[in-house]
Every structure is written in structure tokens, then in C-alpha cells.
Amino acid sequence: MLPDSNGYYGNFGGRFVPEILMGLLEELEQNYNRIKKEKWFKERFKQMLADFVGRPTPLFEAKRLSGKYGFRIFLKREDLAHTGAHKINNTIGQAILAEAMGKTDIIAETGAGQHGVATATACAMLGLNCKVFMGTEDIKRQYPNVERMKILGAEIIPVDSGTKTLKDAINEAIRYWVTHADKTFYLIGSAVGPHPYPSIVRDFQSVIGREARGQIRSKIGRLPDMIIACVGGGSNSIGIFWPFMKENVKFIGVEAGGKGERIDQNAATLTYGKPGILHGALSYLLYDENGNIYPTHSVAAGLDYPGVGPAHSFFKEAGRAEYHSISDKEAIEAFYELSELEGIIPAMESAHAVAYLKKLKGKLSRDAAVIVNLSGRGDKDLGEFEESR
């Protein structure tokens, strides 16, 4: 079973947190294991996904893109989910869980602001208090999402330490959590963190893969040959991969190659990292010979993180998935390409997954079917990367 009873996916995962949080995580695990099986929870989650999020999201055959690359390309349209990214699947699930556990004070971290917006949205809808920690660098580059969170009634807590991006936002959220541990529910935004978070997020995001299975079957009468998704912490990717786990479908995770191979110029954890421990889990990580975490860079704020969820480290070592990196420049090209050819402006994170298609040109047969998880839409990114173009 994945994970095992200690929260391990093979050698990865676990629960590396200060003692103050141990009891809370045990409580969360027990509650989650119980509640997830209860009928009211399943029905409520499903209904919210349908009526509030707008699921199922479509699977769209991108014909012009397919024509260009010579194989069949399908886009799983998470960009069409309410608030504009897959993140809402998880925040709705966790917010209902928090409510059921009697927790009304929610905290979250955000990089691109998509998880922050999705958390603020779920909290507004359920009447929960919401604080979002966000690096000051990300506040600058993803400003539209900051405005949205404010309108939704969330309190934004700017984080000015370290690299002023996602990693530091998580550090600060954890510091707040240990200080208000008895009252606070930490609504983690990716498939990272101490057990049981990676599995909770995976479960709530698996709706993406379950839908895609049915949709691709009804379109082509079989499962796809390959699925491509971008990997920041790894939630949209694990969400679409997981329901195909046991099938003969190739998984490609695309990481942020940034400006190049040099340390601190990328955020390609599985490509350049090694196992280490940060933010509660043992997983691949970018760090130096003394154990200190490297600064990272990516044009996509949501991928700009030195760690990755433990399930992906396991997939990498088990050979179940391949992980590749795409540079800032390639991602920006794909951003324009998808906009111009298909009329869809992707999030800069998702553009990394789209960019990988180019690497497959000439390598697949004409009737090969590839699903790209289009994790979000690009409104938040407009203008932000013009200087890097």
C-alpha cells in the first residue's frame, strides 16, 4: 500500500516535524481516514466539485498543436476549474475536512497565488478565517492573485526572509502553525509536507485522473500512451497520474529548468537534487554539502521550490515516471504557442508541461495519444515575464 502505515512511499515521506505538531498530525490522520470513507463527506465533496468548481473539466483535443507535433494531443482543462487552476480541488476537500474537525482558522502558503486564491475561495464559501503566507518576491510577480485573495477576505502575510518565495512562505506558515497549533488548520497546497498531507492532497487531486480516464476512453476507445504534467510540489501531476498508476501509461513530470543547470538557477529537484529532509518529509531536495537548502529560480512562481512530494521521489527511483526539465525560455515559447495555436493562455507552470511536447516531435507515431495536464490559466502571468522573453 502506498504510502505505508508510517507515511512512506518506498524510502520517501514520513513525518519530520517538531513534537508540538505530532499529536495534531496523528489527529488529522485519524480524522481523515475516518471521514474520507463517510458517505456525507464523499457526497459533499463531489457535489461541491460539480456545482462550485464546475467539474468535470473538459478533455480537449488540441488539433492544431497535434498537427504541428505529429501525434494526438489532449489537454485536461484544469484551467477551466473555478479560480483558474487545479488547486481548488484540494482546497475544497481540505476545507470540508477542517470544518468537520471543528477547525475554523485556516492558514496556507502560496507561490503563484493559485493555492492562496483557492484557499481564500473555499474559506469564503464555508465561512472560515483565512491567512495566506506569500513571499514578497511572489507578491510582486503574481500581483493579480494578491488582489483576488484580498477581495475574497483573506489576510495576506508577506514573507520577506530568505529567497522571498514559496519555500520561505512555507517556513513562515510552519512558524505560525507551531505558535497557534491548537487552533489552526494548515491547508497545504501541494502533495508535500509531513504524512498524511501528501496523501490527502493526492486523494483530492485524483479527481483529475479519474475524469481523464473516462474522457479519453470515450474519445479514443482506449487509455493514453503518455501523460505529461508539470511538477512543483507535485499535486497536479500526482492527481492525474495516480488513477493510471497500474496501467501501461507513461508518466512524464516536467520540472522548472529555469535559466540553466547551475545551482540556484533552476528548481528541478528530481533532476539535480538528492534525498533530504525539508518541511516535514524525506524526499528529493536541492541542498549543499552542509545540508543547507539552495535558493531556486523559475519564471513560474508555482514551480519555484527546492523540494518535491515523496510520491514523485518514489516514482523516480522505482522508474514509474520520468522527470525532465524545461527552461524558462522554452516555457515562455510554449506559453505563446498554446495561446496562438489553440486559443488557450496557460499558466506559466502549465506551459512547462506543454513545452515538453516539442521534445517528443518525431518520436511518437501519428496515432499516439498524449494527455497534457493543463493545470491552470495564465491570467496571473500577463506581463510578468516580458523581461525574460
Binding site: N6, F16, M22, G23, R175, D182, G280, E289, G291
Partner: protein, 241 residues
């Protein structure tokens, strides 16, 4: 006599200053030192120890150098050293190599707040076998069941945190800690740390526990002045010697 344990980040000062700091701490009755290993992402620490960590990293501080320091001055350091740091520093060093090198350097043990007793059982076992102490932390949210488990797993001493929060937040009310101590059934000394910031809070702790651990309040005086005299004078005053 009750114990005073001082937390000080390795790499914040020169080695000569650190030696001198040890000498003076010994003189005013400090009984052990928690030598902090600087880490890039100290999530259990408040602003003061974060700042100490940043400065120490800039000065090239690391676990490796902290162990080398202890080894080099093994016979001159008259106080037992417990290393305190985050698990990734130890993990990247190599856990079994770490115990071996730390033992060889005469280091008494290690306190690793983000390594709960449930993880890396092999490491705990090896430490126990080699008589290398791994104290545990007990928090105000630890259940009675966990307190039992923790007390049983602890070696060296028990580190009781009287409040929720990161290091450096002032604590004045130790009544909860007093209740918690009653629940701890262990022959090991129980030290209270986190939040001790003046003579009164130190006295309160000494009334209920076997000793006190002081970190941020001591380090702050070094950060503000850049001299070891300030924290030493402050400690002499609050400790009443």
C-alpha cells in the same frame, strides 16, 4: 544546584571567542552548552536565532566545523556539548558517521527538534548503543501517551517546552510546565527551555525543573553588541552569581 544550559550558535563568533565564551560560562556556573548548528531554514526558530543562523552561515558555520571545533579543543572545553540543529544537517552529514565523529570529538549528544522518535529508529538505536545522548522534546500539546513514550525514549535529559511557538518568545507563566513535569516519569533531569528572558522567568523555572535552557535572550545580547561580554554579564546578573 540546578543546571543552566546555554544555547549558542556555532559560527556566530570566531573559534577563539567561542573558547573564551565556554571558559566564562563555566566560571559563572553554566553546566552544559547546546551548540547550535546553523541551517538555512530554521522553522522552529524565532527571529533572533534565525538571524544568528544567517550570520553563522555567512561566516561558514556548519555541522562539520562544529564537530571539528569540539575535537580540536576537546581538552580545553570544560563543558559538555550537545549539538542542536535540524535533521537535514545531520542527514546530509551521514547519520552513522555523525555519531562516530561526534563521539570522537567528545560531544555528549544531539537535540534535533524535527526528528521525532518515530523516525530513523536505527539512528536512535545506534546512538543508544554508543552512549550518545538524544534528548527528546516534550511540548504542551504532547498527550499523556506521548509523554510516556518520549520519556522512555529519551537519553541525556528531557527538554520541556512550556509553550507553543518558536524560540525566543518570552514566557512568564510556567504553571502549565509545572503540571507537565508531574506527568514525566523519568530518572533523567528535566530542563525547561524556550522563553526564559530575565531573572524572574529563570527563577520560576528553577523552582519547578532540574534546570533551565537559555537561548534567544543570551544570543540577542551578542547579536546586538557583537561582543561576548554582553551576554556573559547579562547571564551573571540574571543567574545571580
Amino acid at each position: 544546584m540546578k543546571d543552566i544550559v546555554i544555547y549558542f550558535t556555532y559560527g556566530l563568533t570566531s573559534e577563539d571567542e567561542l573558547l573564551e565564551l565556554f571558559r566564562r560560562m563555566k566560571k559563572i556556573g553554566v553546566s552544559a552548552v547546546e551548540l547550535g548548528v546553523p541551517f538555512s531554514d530554521p522553522v522552529a526558530d524565532g527571529p533572533i536565532i534565525q538571524e544568528a543562523s544567517i550570520r553563522a552561515l555567512k561566516n561558514g558555520g556548519s555541522l562539520k566545523k562544529a564537530i571539528e571545533f569540539a575535537k580540536k579543543y576537546k581538552d580545553k572545553l570544560e563543558l559538555p556539548i550537545y549539538l542542536m540543529g535540524y535533521i537535514n544537517s545531520f542527514y546530509s552529514y551521514g547519520l552513522s558517521g555523525f555519531i562516530e565523529d561526534a563521539k570522537a570529538a567528545g560531544i555528549a549528544g544531539a537535540i534535533i527538534p524535527d526528528l521525532p522518535i518515530e523516525e530513523f529508529a536505527g539512528f536512535r538505536k545506534e546512538a543508544e548503543k554508543r552512549n550518545f545522548a538524544l534528548p527528546v522534546i516534550i511540548s504542551p500539546l504532547s498527550s499523556e501517551k506521548r509523554i510516556k513514550m518520549l520519556a522512555k525514549a529519551a537519553t541525556g535529559f528531557i527538554y520541556l517546552v512550556p509553550r507553543m511557538g518558536t524560540t525566543g518568545t518570552h514566557t512568564d507563566d510556567f504553571s502549565a510546565a509545572k503540571e507537565m513535569i508531574k506527568k514525566i516519569n523519568s530518572p533523567l533531569p528535566v530542563y525547561v527551555g524556550f522563553g526564559i528572558h530575565n531573572a524572574a522567568s529563570l527563577r520560576s523555572v528553577m523552582r519547578i525543573a532540574d534546570g533551565a535552557i537559555i537561548g534567544s535572550a543570551f544570543i540577542k545580547r551578542y547579536l546586538d553588541s557583537g561582543r561576548i561580554d554582553e551576554p556573559i554579564n547579562w547571564l551573571r546578573e540574571v543567574a545571580g552569581n
